[in-house]
Symmetry: none
Subunit: 198 residues, 2 copies
DNA sequence: TTGAAAGTTCTCAAAAAGTTCACTATCCTA
DNA sequence: TAGGATAGTGAACTTTTTGAGAACTTTCAA
């Protein structure tokens, strides 16, 4: 486990390599994280090498390399945006995306989608959705709703006047359902969705 | 079994490591759960180490590590399937889903989608897609293709006779594109997709 | 071959973190 | 109601980490 400074050094090196394609000099690291002494920087780098996070491929200048991180850190490089007919643009500021952080949280769970009722919201048959447990939700949220304590369903929620609730499927073939509020219990709110191809 | 305070300490440490990538100092733990005395925090931490929930990899600063438990791995409970008009059915055999395992892998990266060209495949503007680096792909795969070494685009791929390649957008407003094979270079294959609502 | 740039090694002092301890308070149970 | 388990405070102490700066060696390219 790294100390704060060690981590700063590592983060700087990672970002530098990503931007410049080669590793920084000790002086550049020092300037980047505000340390005057090359000796101090060197000590940090050496520690990182000892810890196995960095390595020097050969002796020489700018020969630092990141050691491939193990799978315990659930993140992937975020390269940029892609669109039809355009080159990939880098996203400034982000270079790593932590998948766990995006989707995990207290009181969340996963459901697998069956059927096409939310297809126009980009949620397909077989997709997994992450639900945050909740009793209430805002208009427009997609929720897991329990009707008459019997049928659970994933729908977009709207409150109507007269204590009624409208549940809308995202599929133009299905009509919205309207219930008195006391027949509908909200179980959770959609917070994420994922799909695996293969 | 842990006491209330011990659990608070453990939860704090877990959250801290998750956010910062390294363990907190005793002072930071104290600030986090509102204990002034470093000594008291130390006693809690020591107890947790004795219980085997935490360990110190070596002597030094910020060297706390969570001992691997079920809670350490980035997973969520998989409750079951949900459909319009049906109760949630439990999925037999699965009770945990490991998000990291589903999406991570060697030579993968993430792109953010811009535009609606894949909307009918359930890939919306702003979604993140996980791409597996690859030079080749099968018919029907969704790929990142580079056309004339200039334009990167996400499309469904088909090989045609006469060394031609058809790239199909999943949007009926856009027509398929057909290129000679030597103008198209495949950079990767779509292996996952995720979206975060909030 | 030479000199600038980069990396290495060292010592010193200070700051930050971890450890131990005595004292006290609160709650629960026998 | 006594005693134990759990807690918090604050002080003193030890250990680890840190940055500065200087002197040294190595690398690289003109």
């Amino acid at each position: 486990m790294l100390t704060t400074q060690q981590k700063r050094v590592l983060d700087f090196i990672r970002a530098f390599i990503h931007r410049h394609g080669h590793s920084p000099s000790l002086r550049e690291i020092g300037e980047g994280i505000d340390i005057q002494s090359r000796g101090a920087v060197h000590r940090h780098v050496q520690t990182l090498i000892d810890r196995g996070v960095l390595k020097r491929t050969r002796s020489g200048w700018r020969t630092l390399e990141l050691v491939k991180t193990d799978e315990t850190s659930p993140s992937l490089p975020l390269l940029g945006k892609i669109a039809a007919g355009r080159p990939i643009e880098a996203i400034p500021g982000h270079d790593e995306i932590n998948i766990a952080e995006m989707l995990l949280g207290e009181e969340r769970y996963v459901l697998q989608i069956q059927g096409d009722s939310m297809i126009e919201a980009g949620i397909l048959d077989g997709d997994l959705v992450v639900i945050q447990h909740a009793d209430t939700a805002n208009d427009g949220d997609i929720v897991v709703a329990l009707i008459d304590d019997q049928e659970a369903t994933l729908k977009r929620l709207f409150h109507l006047s007269g204590r009624r609730i409208k549940l809308v499927a995202e599929n133009h073939k299905l009509s919205p359902l309207i219930y008195p509020a006391d027949r509908v219990r909200i179980q959770g709110v959609l917070t994420g969705q994922l799909r695996s191809y293969r």
